[in-house]
């Protein structure tokens, strides 16, 4: 919530951009209001970052996740209170306690998790990474994308972020970039489509 991303300049959002790396103004749109360093595991045995420019998520993403998680937590606690005080169901604290503890743990690691997300637009493919404890990196060739999907809920809109999902013919690809600024998401979508057009291949 610290800063609002720059509105996309109509000149920079051009559908003709084919090479993701050298399009002018890319950095401004994709990296406005985002984190600037990928958080990695401390161990030297981690998966290396490699070279190239990593784009990251909007700082607002953490706030959206925190608000929704806290709301969920409040809801669970309220339900458990009602069940135990009004309905005299003492055992309800066992499942509720488990849920509360795991949710609080989620809250604790959320900010770290958000910093571990990253994506790179390489010459021929998009590389996506996430996770600290469980690291995952996926390379998706541009020509393999079947669909680019942008989703944003009401809370997302309030914080001006969106989620971008890439779909290939394989269900297991599972590349979903959460918490992009809306401008970045739209820019990324347009770029990906333009690039996919020039590199399209069979299934």
């Amino acid at each position: 919530m610290t800063n609002t991303p720059d509105r996309p300049n109509p000149d920079t959002v051009s559908r003709t951009a084919t090479d993701p790396a050298d399009a002018a103004g890319e950095g401004v749109v994709l990296d406005g209001g985002t984190y600037d360093r990928i958080l990695e595991p401390r161990s030297e045995n981690r998966l290396p970052l490699g070279d190239g420019l990593w784009h990251q998520l909007s700082r607002n993403y953490v706030w959206v996740r925190l608000i929704s998680t806290v709301a969920f937590l409040v809801l669970v606690i309220a339900a458990a209170l009602v069940a135990s005080l009004v309905l005299r169901l003492g055992w309800v604290w066992i499942p509720a306690g488990l849920v509360v503890v795991s949710t609080i743990w989620t809250l604790v690691i959320l900010p770290r998790q958000a910093r571990a997300y990253g994506y790179q637009l390489r010459q021929d493919d998009l590389v996506f990474r996430r996770g600290i404890l469980w690291q995952r990196m996926v390379a998706v060739p541009y020509g393999r994308m079947q669909l680019v999907d942008i989703t944003h809920g009401p809370l997302d809109r309030l914080f001006n972020i969106a989620q971008l999902k890439l779909v290939t013919a394989a269900a297991t690809t599972g590349v979903t970039i959460p918490g992009l600024t809306q401008a970045a998401a739209e820019r990324l979508r347009d770029t990906l489509i333009a690039v996919a057009e020039t590199r399209r291949t069979g299934l």
Binding site: D125, W134, G143, Q146, T201
Partner: protein, 601 residues
Amino acid sequence: MTNPAAVADVRSPLSDGEWHRLHPLTPVLRGGLFLVVVLGIVITNLRDRIIGWLFPAVADWERYEADPVDYVVSNNLILIALLAVLGVLLILLGGFWLSWRFHTFRITGDDVEVRSGILFRTHRRAPLDRVQGVNLTRPMVARLLGAAKLEVVGAGLDANVKLEYLSTANAEAVRADILRLASGRQLARAGDAAGVAGAAGVAGVAGTTPRGRAAVAAVSAGLTGLIDGAEQPVAEPASVVHIPAGRLIASRLLSGSTLWLVLLVGVIVVGSILGTPWVLFTLVPTVIAFGAYWFRTVTRALRYSIAPTPSGVRITFGLFTTITETLPPGRVHAFEIRQPLLWRGFGWWEIKVNRLSGRSASDAQAQQFADVLPVGTRDDVERVLRLFLPGISAEQWQELVVHGLLGPRSGADPYVTTPRRAWWLRPLSWRRNGALLTPDALLLRHGLIWRSLVILPLARLQSIALAQGPVDRALRVAGVTAHIVAGQVRGSVGALDRDDAVAAWQRTAAAVVAAAASDRSHRWDAEPEGAGDVNAENAAAAAAPVGDVAMYSDAANAARPVDTANAADTAGPVAASVGERDAVAAVPAAGAISDDGGERR
């Protein structure tokens, strides 16, 4: 009809771009079960009366006073009753006739289309360059009537275009046409052949309109099919693999499920001895169920043959319902060569594949389509793989078989395997567990007890992932997962040295891009450049809107709304927009239009 030479060279009259009808018996074959049930009910109810009519001596009329037949006879309503029966028959026949009339198909240079339905019309179209295969199914009953079902396999869920039923000869002709058109070879030849066919058509049947001619042709072909009756001999190319029935049955008996049966029987017997004897009776249903299962798997796999044809690999199987599938080149996304434990003594292997079968994973037949070689020796495996991957050199074969199938040989093992420090992640197979990147495929080797080798052609790989959990990190290892279309084969290998895994990931990602760029298998036999100009017909087809949805059924009732989940599996450009998703973009997938080979990288 037309010049036979031209037909043989280009296409049969059924795929001339006009609408054609199916086999006249189609409604009977499709609604056959319903009719049999109705007939059965009528016969059961009138059983005694029929006996009475046939053998008056044993008739016992007093028992049927409330019988509607008696009621009709006693009230002099025979005429009305007969009229009613006639009316029902007429309506049925009329319905059949209408549904037959409205069920038409068309094969053009770019698509296969089917229209059906009387009130709720559906229209389905499959672009030919997205054809994943053509299946010719001949169920028992249809076989007796000389009919066959043709299924053009598309790339989505429930995306197949079915032509059921055609007479066997027509089905063969249509299949050949579809495959020839899809291959793109047609584009080069049609120019000269179209003239010949056109001239012959004019000379031969002057005076009739093309449409009328086509209808006459369809009807006469259908009638011929009717008269010919039983299954016509079909020229099948010789199979490269022969599975003796004995081996097939033995292999099914030695499957993993048999171990379970033995275990179950043991438990039941012990239980009945120690405790309650009546548990023994549960043996009967168990054995019956297993017997049925074996019978089914064995009859399905009997009459197996696999052979190369110009339009792809042709696989035939099934004793009662015979299925012949034709897989054009480059339609297989993953192979797995497996050896269950009990088969090791015999040296048998099986090959399973992942492909887009146009069916959901829960479909019983989906599993069947995954079996490319139900059981075979090492030589059979080699022969089958050579059909699908003709580019394998002798040296690569060495890598594949000697190292891939039979495990690490001492000395030079080309595979990257699990390092010694991580042996306890793969306690038995750590020496074998590994990966190898060849120029056109990624090979993953697993398992010491259940040996398996996964071959992933790079041109079909969708994306590739690298993953590392906390335990992996402590041991400095990582796993590589290749993402392919859903199926029985899964492409992942774990516990490789971190640097090896990262290198394999990087190199595979680069190789996938290169392989995809040079891949031409969507029009596998097309001339590389500008072949489309030659063909007048094709030019007309190219005028159709660019970026058609790969598969659709539009109907007044919107019979099949394509949802996003479904769309994800569909190959073509798909757009869906519901609820909160307010921006959905479709990436135009390859080959929505065929003739742009020049600009493709």
